[in-house]
Symmetry: C2
Subunit: 228 residues, 2 copies
């Protein structure tokens, strides 16, 4: 029974990869760099986006906002006059705990791809399943808040292993926590040695300039930035 | 295609409910009260358990520790000389992001049911899928950390709607956050009017006595406590 289940899961992931490649081809054709942006609930994804979208030098950023229900985050971002498209997994996609390639594909027609250079896909807040499903992204960025504890890379290794940048958020709270940053970074290197990481505070703005520059350089590397 | 998917999900949940009822019957036969304990990653479930297991008056508490991988939390709790059983969803259950009734059933033989009055099942850290799968519990307790923001009841309504107690954790950090506790409680009442809630800090111990007493009274209500 377990073997059957594992096989079904593998087939679903194969099918997902095929659709992700089709998305990837469409994004390439539109010359849009795509970031899959992931974290646990409440780690600060939306606030970190509010801090940079609209202000990445030479890069027009749009957002695809993934949530189980509601459009609160999309409303927050839209107030910054950035193109935002809402994608809910409930009810159309069974209330899934993650975005997959097919859901993103269903939103393609609503995305203003000709008006943007970069699309940030804010995934559902979850450290497990979002890591399993490619959606057609160029890179994966994840947020790990220091309030979540040092052990998270060891408990959710796939998420930390498959990302290209880790934003360590809420560092303004370090003085008030029993959190060992060195231990977190050690654990991170255990599951993803040397992965790029930035210490940031969406609240105070510390480290945000580096995060904005990282996005600008990503666009250049992908051929969509100002210097391309 | 969506309709097919929804049907498959419904059939899976029906099958899960049947197994959950079998678990429930086995727990009743053993006179064990069962708590399904849920939260986002890093909200403080394990620390809140460390604070109370072994110290609930007249109630012998055991823990079934659910994680995708590893046994860090189980090791922490076992050091308190409490019966702890580890249940990993990877590799045996495809790395699932939640526990389901079948997984709990697979662990039944390893649980020392005759030696405990209460079993706390610490679910995988996730605010979506754990809420969909009954495992045979008497009650559901969830933890929402104030660092996660006030909007979480609105974004993950099923989790907040199906729980019997909400532990609002990390209140020692309130002075350092832009968090409106009244707004959170208002949002909570929007999705689950009047649900029981406690303000706690696993770090400072504030509110922990009330949480311990709640568990003791739960055992009495269920017929397994000291006064039964």
């Amino acid at each position: 029974m377990h073997r059957t289940k594992v096989r079904i899961v593998e087939e679903a992931l194969d099918a997902n990869n095929t659709i992700a490649q089709a998305n990837r081809a469409d994004f390439d054709r539109a010359a849009v760099t795509v970031v899959n942006f992931m974290s646990a609930p409440g780690a600060g994804k939306t606030t970190l986006l509010e801090r940079v979208v609209g202000e990445v030098p030479g890069v027009r950023v749009g957002v695809l906002e993934g949530d189980v229900q509601g459009s609160m985050d999309a409303d927050r971002l839209a107030s910054l006059h950035v193109p935002v498209t809402q994608l809910n997994t409930d009810p159309s996609f069974g209330g899934e705990c993650h975005l997959d390639a097919n859901m993103v594909r269903s939103a393609l027609a609503a995305l203003p791809l000709s008006e943007i250079d970069m699309l940030v896909i804010e995934n559902v807040g979850n450290l497990v399943c979002p890591a399993e499903f490619k959606v057609g992204e160029d890179v994966r960025v994840m947020v790990s808040s220091v309030t979540e504890g040092e052990d998270k890379p060891l408990k959710y290794p796939l998420m930390f292993r498959t990302c290209d940048l880790v934003l360590v958020n809420k560092i303004d709270l370090l003085a008030h926590l029993d959190y060992d940053l060195d231990r977190f970074l050690y654990n991170l290197d255990q599951v993803h040695p040397g992965v790029e990481r930035m210490l940031v505070s969406a609240r105070t703005g510390e480290g945000i300039e580096a995060w904005r520059e990282w996005l600008a350089e990503l666009a250049v590397r992908s051929g969509q930035g100002a210097a391309a």
